[in-house]
């Protein structure tokens, strides 16, 4: 069975990798990586934000953060139109909760297996949340995180040293340390002491107006990394320590390059004599998203997934089946439009950033099949102008941001009548509506879980049709 995956973000890549591991012939058509490239460096599966979930961050005794498992269960309980409710069923009797927990655990393990050869691990678990600092001075309750920020759990640290790098843009250690301290006061957990430590880097290490990308690229060279190691070691040699290394955390700006972060961190830990981590951050302040993208691309190559760098122009259909996609002819190519046939197609084209949704002719539409779109309340929104789906207030939910397609439990997009439109068309990732990745920040979690589920549904379809 030939399978086509449309969309090169985490949902599409995870699905393609999973399908390849089940030995199905899979082609990934990717015009770009979409919102995956904007990752902050954490992979959150359960809704962390108290404003969205209505949950407190801490448990009733107020001594610890709610675990990812508890927040996942609360999400299933309170969000009937969330993609998780579609995947695992409504809560009740604990079956949905344990199915969700198992799926999350195995998904994280699969992703870790694909990324690990590129020196990027997925760290974390369902039993304890991490408290990670971002470059803007907010603490983020995080379920899983990628190597780099993952090591920076602020719980259990008695002393946090916020490193300043002179001249580095988009990173201000002093306000960052102050903001982190204030965040702790707001959460009400025991607060570590925050200190700002300047790293004695030689003049000329930070160049080009302090661009974090340039500095990150420098640490990708052995020479640049040695300079950073020497600065960290020099800073820490002269200090008299009151707190032992395990309880001390050196918080670096996200400058540890685009690859091999695992090895760099080990060397930095040795130089500093304490735990070392990066702050979370989105580009251009952080290379975290590009690390993930690079590691996914390497995994796709390794697993033998055929990747077509092209944009899909149209899907061909016959009755209740999709047959093929037509690709936009490449720039400067004299060849006519390319056509790829497949027995199953997975749409993981994302939302507005990925190109799965767009506003045209005055209304929001799904771009390939004009699938019906629904907001989180279940109201149909396709055809409405985007500016009618947002409110001027920054508070509260925006319908536009939770809109997407609706699927059945096998992740097949539903038509207006509530029946799957096609037997062999599946959807994964942000294209599925019912949650708002921009405020919930669980986009990667949903992408991973729906991508893997779609892959196993496609494998099931292949079995049904062959046998």
């Amino acid at each position: 069975m030939r399978v086509l995956v449309i969309g090169g973000g985490l949902a599409g890549a995870a699905a393609a990798l999973e399908l390849a591991s089940r030995e199905l012939a899979v082609t990934l058509v990717s015009a770009g990586v979409g919102a995956t490239a904007l990752s902050w460096g954490s992979l959150d599966v359960a809704v962390p934000s108290p404003e969205i979930s209505g949950l407190p961050l801490r448990d009733a005794t107020a001594t610890r953060l709610l675990s990812p498992r508890e927040r996942l269960a609360a999400c299933l309980r309170t969000r009937p139109r969330h993609p998780y409710a579609t995947l695992f069923g409504r809560s009740g009797g604990g079956a949905a909760e344990s199915a969700a927990a198992d799926a999350v655990k195995s998904a994280a393990a699969s992703l870790d297996g694909w990324l690990a050869p590129s020196g990027l691990r997925v760290e974390g678990g369902l039993d304890a949340a991490r408290l990670l600092a971002n470059v803007r001075g907010a603490v983020r309750v995080s379920d899983f995180a990628f190597t780099g920020p993952a090591e920076g759990d602020l719980q259990g640290a008695a002393e946090v040293e916020v490193a300043t790098v002179a001249g580095l843009a988009q990173h201000a250690a002093r306000p960052l340390a102050r903001a982190l301290a204030a965040e702790f006061a707001a959460i009400g957990l025991p607060r570590p002491s925050f200190r700002v430590v300047p790293l004695p880097l030689p003049a000329g290490f930070v160049v080009d107006g302090g661009s974090p990308a340039r500095v990150a690229a420098r640490t990708d060279t052995e020479e640049g990394l040695r300079v950073l190691l020497a600065a960290v070691a020099a800073r820490h040699r002269d200090e008299v320590r009151r707190v032992d290394g395990e309880r001390r955390l050196l918080l670096l700006p996200p400058i540890l390059g685009f690859s091999g972060v695992l090895g760099k961190l080990a060397r930095l830990r040795e130089a500093a004599g304490c735990r070392v981590a990066e702050c979370l951050g989105a580009p251009p302040a952080s290379p975290a998203g590009l690390r993930l993208v690079g590691a996914l691309a390497a995994a796709l190559l390794r697993e033998g997934v055929v990747v077509e760098r092209a944009r899909v122009r149209a899907l061909e259909r016959t009755g209740r089946r999709v047959r093929a996609v037509r690709l936009q002819p490449r720039e400067g190519s004299s060849r006519a439009e390319e056509r790829l046939e497949a027995e199953a197609i997975l749409l993981a084209s994302g939302r507005f950033l990925g190109g799965g949704l767009a506003e045209r002719e005055g209304g929001v539409h799904e771009t390939l099949l004009d699938l019906p779109l629904y907001d989180e309340a279940g109201v149909r929104v396709d055809g409405s102008a985007a500016n009618r789906l947002v409110r001027a207030s920054p508070e509260g939910p925006q319908r536009l941001f939770s809109s997407g397609v609706r699927t059945d439990s096998r992740l097949r997009p539903l038509g207006a009548d509530g029946e799957p439109l096609f037997e062999n068309l599946f959807a994964a990732g942000d294209l599925i509506g019912g949650f708002d990745p921009s405020t919930e920040r669980t986009g990667l979690g949903v992408a991973l879980l729906t991508g893997l589920r779609a892959a196993s549904e496609i494998a099931r379809l292949a079995e049904e049709e062959s046998g």
């Binding site: 015009a31 770009g32 904007l38 661009s211 340039r214 690229a217 685009f258 580009p283 998203g289 590009l290």
Partner: protein, 158 residues
């Protein structure tokens, strides 16, 4: 005229750009000379294009309009710049500048002079395109800006 002159002063004090200065001289002084020395035609647009062909000025065409619309999807995430740095692009190349320039192509032609020099340094490897979450054809944007290079880099001025 006076407004244009103020705009130039602001631009010049902000950037100290010789290129911006040169463009200002061209549009301010050369315009009078050029339009004066040629007979008035009946078609003002054709005359304008004729006078400024050597500067690379063309009418906006449908392809460029489409490109400009694509450039307006830019969310200024900066990934293209990061990727360019990662793959070892030219020292001061900033694809995001080019995208920003393209999206304001019709608005402010003098300011355009600043990032256009980058377009010439671009090797069109398109690594930036591969990471652009908004799927902007950045290499095409750079090439398009590069085609305006005649205007940005008049002979003898760098």
């Amino acid at each position: 005229m006076i407004r244009g002159y103020r705009g130039f002063l602001r631009e010049f004090s902000r950037t100290g750009s010789a290129r911006a200065f040169w463009l200002q001289v061209r549009t301010g002084v050369a315009h009078i000379v050029r339009t004066g020395r040629r007979p008035r035609g009946s078609d003002a647009v054709a005359l304008f294009l004729e006078n400024y062909r050597e500067d690379g000025i063309r009418l906006p065409d449908a392809a460029r309009d489409a490109l400009r619309l694509e450039a307006q999807r830019c969310t200024a995430c900066g990934l293209c710049t990061e990727e360019c740095a990662r793959v070892g692009g030219a020292p001061h190349l900033d694809p995001m500048d080019a995208v920003a320039a393209a999206s304001r192509l019709a608005i402010d032609i003098v300011r355009l002079a600043l990032p256009i020099a980058d377009a010439a340094a671009c090797s069109a490897c398109a690594a930036c395109e591969a990471v652009c979450p908004a799927h902007i054809p950045i290499a095409r944007v750079q090439a398009d800006l590069g085609s305006l290079g005649a205007m940005a880099q008049p002979a003898g001025i760098r």
